[in-house]
């Protein structure tokens, strides 16, 4: 029998020689590199994109986030003042380029939305587009103040439910001109349920259209001369637009009315957009037949998004006028900072629609944007009624 130590020594010699042979110097640089490649060849794998990359690739291949495809998370688009409103949607794009979408949303203030919509393909090289939608929106606590040009700050709330089935056609013959026309049926239900607040109840009951729950055929036409870079975000350009609405109501036409909204906006870039001066002027006016009334919830209103130092729907009446001057500067490709001054009023007669006695507010904020859209506005605004913190997801204006 061999001595065990001799066996161990033999094993060491054998193993050592094998490992030495395996780890032998390559002999040349080319061989060294070939060995590295050979080693990798034994472990070649196919690249599998992580989930997030697969989803983003699907979005990019579909043409971007604007194209409806599959299940998506949505935010906002309920009635103004809803607060943070997450929702869920599902989109389907047809092989012809049309799109169908459904979505539902629910806000922290208990606002609710259900909507189904359809959009045609873009015809004539993006010049013509058709859209239609069926929409139900429930807003249980919409701020309500007295009407007038200088109402008291008494506030109550009312509930408003709107159901709508509508369609519209959009025409853009050239880049800077666009026209639109739409027709729809709209049902409104309003109510006041704050029994503990008799003053509020009285206010609500005295407002035109309260409890009338009118149903309308709403037709509208619009035209715009638009030299802005894009509707969602711009640093230069001019916008002149007007929209004419006809609300033809039931109830013997008691609540039928016409409304015209006009806008003039000018963006003045200084030093290639390092600074931007923005001036905006908006006006709305309503018209009725003799004895007709405009329901309070369809009257022009100011506050919140346009007269930012005041709360949403702070001023409401038959006619409105407001303007904004904004000093904006470039902080970064996707970030602007701005100071602004807003002024406006609502009045009961068109003759009073002038620049006297405007309510004003000042403020500043930061905007996050892309080259074509405003993603987020965070602003602080001050008026005689105090300081307000605002978050918006669209450009300034009505």
């Amino acid at each position: 029998m061999t001595h065990p130590l001799l066996s161990c020594f033999t094993a060491i010699l054998f193993t050592s020689s094998v490992t030495t042979a395996l780890a032998q110097d390559p002999g040349s640089r080319a061989e060294e590199q070939a060995r590295q490649q050979e080693a990798k060849a034994r472990n070649v794998t196919t690249y599998v994109a992580p989930w997030i990359e697969q989803r983003l690739l699907a979005v990019e291949n579909a043409g971007g986030f604007g194209v409806a495809r599959g299940l998506v998370v949505k935010f906002g688009d309920i009635k103004r003042g809803s607060g943070f409103a997450p929702g869920i949607g599902y989109g389907y794009t047809t092989s012809g380029g049309g799109a169908l979408a459904v979505k539902g949303g629910y806000s922290i203030k208990n606002y609710k939305l259900l909507q189904a919509s359809a959009q045609s393909p873009h015809f004539l090289a993006d010049r013509i587009l058709f859209r239609a939608r069926a929409r139900w929106q429930d807003a249980p606590r919409v701020p309500l103040y007295p009407l007038g040009s200088d109402p008291t700050d008494f506030r109550t709330d009312y509930a408003e439910t709107k159901t709508e089935v509508s369609g519209e056609a959009l025409l853009k013959p050239v880049r800077f001109l666009r026209f639109g026309g739409g027709l729809g049926v709209e049902w409104f239900t309003t109510g006041f349920s704050h029994d503990e607040n008799p003053v509020g109840s009285t206010l609500f009951d005295t407002l035109p259209g309260s409890g009338a729950d009118p149903r309308y055929i709403h037709s509208r036409v619009s035209g715009a001369f638009d030299l802005r870079d894009s509707e969602g975000y711009t640093r230069r350009g001019t916008l002149l637009s007007a929209t004419y609405h006809n609300y033809h109501g039931d109830s013997n036409g008691a609540y039928s009315f016409d409304r015209i909204d006009g806008a003039a906006e000018q963006y003045l870039p200084i030093l290639h957009g390092n600074w931007v001066i923005f001036l905006g002027l908006w006006a709305s006016t309503t018209m009725t037949e003799d004895g007709g009334q405009v329901p309070f919830f369809l009257m022009p209103d100011l506050g919140g998004h346009d007269l930012r130092g005041f709360s949403d729907y702070r001023f409401r009446d038959r006619h409105s006028l407001n303007w904004t001057a904004e000093y904006r500067w470039y902080a970064q490709e996707f970030i602007d900072v701005a100071f602004f001054y807003d002024a406006g009023k609502t009045v009961s007669t068109r003759g009073a629609l002038d620049f006297n006695g405007l309510h004003s507010s000042i403020g500043g904020g930061v905007r996050l944007h892309t080259s074509i859209s405003t993603l987020l506005r965070v602003e602080l605004a001050h008026s005689r009624e105090g300081l307000r913190f605002l978050i918006g997801f669209s450009p300034v204006g009505p």
Binding site: D25, R29, Q33, Q37, E38, A41, N61, T94, Q332, E333
Partner: protein, 588 residues
């Protein structure tokens, strides 16, 4: 029969001992393993390797789509890739990039004529006359489509943006030629004319619909593309025809990591010298869009083996063009999202005015926003941080700058001529701007590290070398050079000091014949296969800017039957690991 305890132990050892001993030997690190152990001699007989071969079959490589959004987001807000920045891994032992499927040494390695430069990557002059069959359209923001001519040759057609004639097509043609001369694999790009009535839709041509499906392509699809392009007064379109690349498309390569399905791709891309050095070339031509989707890997068969060739594509967003219009003023000066200027600008009420907002650009047709007066090479940056660029060290940028210096004024003019600018003033301006930017790059990056080049050791022991920064008059000559001699053991890697020579500046007044010469003040090893190491540093350098010149360049020579052969060069031999910086590698 019973065994004693002693016998039992002895039997157990006899049975298991060899196994345990073998395991111990296997587990113990040998000289060839472990992270710090050298795996063999420092230099092999075939060093310096001038071609890095792809030895393995890559036929299993598959197309790998890259998400533009994810790639941009990750690079804007993160630093993908290796944390430590070390010497580029794919350089050979003399600090050069071997030819490979990534790169081919051209300018600076062999003479290039103006005719060659004008011709570009291939002798293809665009599609043949006759009908052109459209097979595929672009899905990107820039209009474009693929055509096949009657010779069955494939081209990708690109246009100028509306209102900007010659802008994108000129940039594509010029930069393609420059990048080809600099060594990259690029598709040929030829400026030409396209007429709508010359196009026919291919029988199997389809367009991808937003819902992911496909339908047959119509003429109106092409009209949609043409509507987004600049049109000549006669209704034709000035275009650039990018020649179809050979092989199967595998989509782009990322600037970090490796392709997992390519066995020959073993060097992390962020550690490839030619990708780090691309920062310099991109700065030169303002190619701010060198991102993953503007590259293309193709599976080719060469010598019977399938390998992956790596190309740079899409240069219509270079020079003063952004492809879809004029370049943004920010491009080249600030990333899309950069914190320092943002935090300065946020509270400044707009009175923090970026210097690039005041730059005046010429109005010559086709030039766009390109200039040279305000160009600062070290501060130039692409739109989105590039993983290879942010790891570029001084030796990487030096390598690239030296290559760039080989692109003479005449070669630049030849490349610009291929852009077919109709306004001669535009051509002159572009040539002048490229020359001035090249000179600025030389001044910046040929001086930022010890610029010793072309070391040679004669049989008689006379060492010669050049200081390229001094030769090209980018820097004043140092007072002298310190040359330290070592005997070098190639097996152990040990160096033994032999002597030291101090030489005064011996440079002749007129470049490029200037050479520093020094005779070894020691006896050099005599036998074949012997090595010497020579450390060369500058002494008395002028000012702090050239302080790095006092760090030696380390060169190695091996004695062969033909005399001393240069086998090694390290420009930053003792540099510690760095970290990815804002625009290039930074000290930890």
């Amino acid at each position: 029969m019973t065994m004693s305890t002693r016998q039992r132990v002895r039997s157990l050892v006899a049975l298991t001992g060899p196994l345990v001993a073998a395991l111990v030997v296997l587990a113990y690190p040998t000289h060839a393993s472990g992270p710090d152990a050298r795996k063999g001699p420092m230099f092999y007989d075939d060093d310096p390797l001038m071609r890095a071969a792809d030895t393995q079959d890559a036929s299993k490589a598959q197309p790998r789509p890259i998400s533009l959004m994810l790639d941009a987001t990750i690079n804007l807000f993160g630093r993908p890739g290796l944390k430590d920045v070390v010497r580029a891994e794919n350089v050979n032992t003399i600090d050069e990039v071997p030819d490979s499927n990534w790169y081919t040494n051209r300018a600076g390695t062999r003479p290039i004529t103006a005719d060659e430069m004008y011709q570009g990557p291939s002798d293809d002059g665009g599609p043949a006359a006759g009908k052109w069959t459209v097979s595929r359209k672009s899905n990107g923001v820039s209009p474009g489509f693929t055509i096949t001519d009657e010779r069955n040759k494939r081209y990708f057609v690109k246009f100028d943006p509306p209102g900007q004639p010659e802008l994108g097509t000129g940039a594509e043609a010029v930069v393609t030629r420059l990048f080809h001369a600099l060594g990259y694999h690029v598709p040929q790009a030829t400026v030409g004319i396209l007429r709508r009535d010359n196009l026919v839709i291919g029988g199997d041509a389809t367009v991808r619909m937003p819902n992911g499906g496909h339908r047959k392509m119509r003429m109106s699809d092409l009209d949609d593309q043409l509507r987004r392009a600049e049109r000549n007064p006669d209704g034709s379109y000035r275009v650039v025809f990018a020649e179809g690349l050979a092989g199967k498309s595998l989509e782009g390569f990322k600037y970090e990591g490796t392709r997992p399905d390519d066995p020959n791709d073993v060097v992390p891309h962020e550690n490839r010298r030619e990708l780090r050095g691309l920062r310099v070339f991109s700065a030169w031509v303002n190619h701010t869009d060198a991102k993953a989707i503007n590259s293309l890997d193709t599976l080719i068969t060469e010598n019977g083996r399938a390998t992956v060739r790596h190309h740079l594509i899409d240069f219509n967003a270079a020079l003063g063009s952004a492809g879809i219009g004029l370049r943004e003023r920010r491009d080249g000066y600030e990333y899309l999202a950069e914190t320092t200027p943002t935090f300065k600008a946020l509270p400044a009420l707009g009175f923090y005015v970026r210097p690039w907002l005041n730059i005046h650009y010429p109005t010559y047709r086709g030039i766009g926003r390109f200039e040279s007066k305000r160009f600062i090479p070290e501060e130039w940056r692409p739109r989105v941080p590039n993983p290879a660029y942010v790891r570029s060290r001084a030796d990487d940028t030096f390598w690239a700058a030296r290559k760039l210096m080989a692109i003479s004024d005449d070669l630049i003019r030849a490349a610009v001529k291929a852009g077919h600018y109709t306004d001669p003033r535009a051509e002159d301006f572009l040539v002048g701007a490229l020359i001035e930017r090249r000179e600025k790059i030389g001044r910046a990056w040929l001086t930022s590290v010890n610029p010793i080049v072309d070391p040679a050791l004669s049989e008689e022991g006379v060492l010669t070398f050049r200081n390229i920064a001094v030769d090209l008059q980018f820097a004043p000559a140092p007072q002298g050079y310190l040359v330290t001699w070592f005997r070098f053991d190639n097996t152990t890697g040990e160096s033994t000091a032999m002597g030291e020579s101090n030489i005064g500046e011996t440079r002749a007044p007129a470049p490029p014949t200037a050479l520093a010469r020094v005779r070894a003040d020691t006896t050099l090893p005599g036998g074949r296969g012997q090595f010497v190491r020579v450390d060369i540093s500058a002494t008395g350098v002028a000012g702090g800017k050239f302080a790095s010149w006092s760090s030696p360049v380390r060169v190695f020579f091996r004695r062969t039957q033909d005399g001393w052969k240069l086998v090694g060069l390290e420009r930053m031999p003792d540099a510690p690991a760095m970290r990815p910086g804002l625009v290039g590698a930074e000290a930890r």
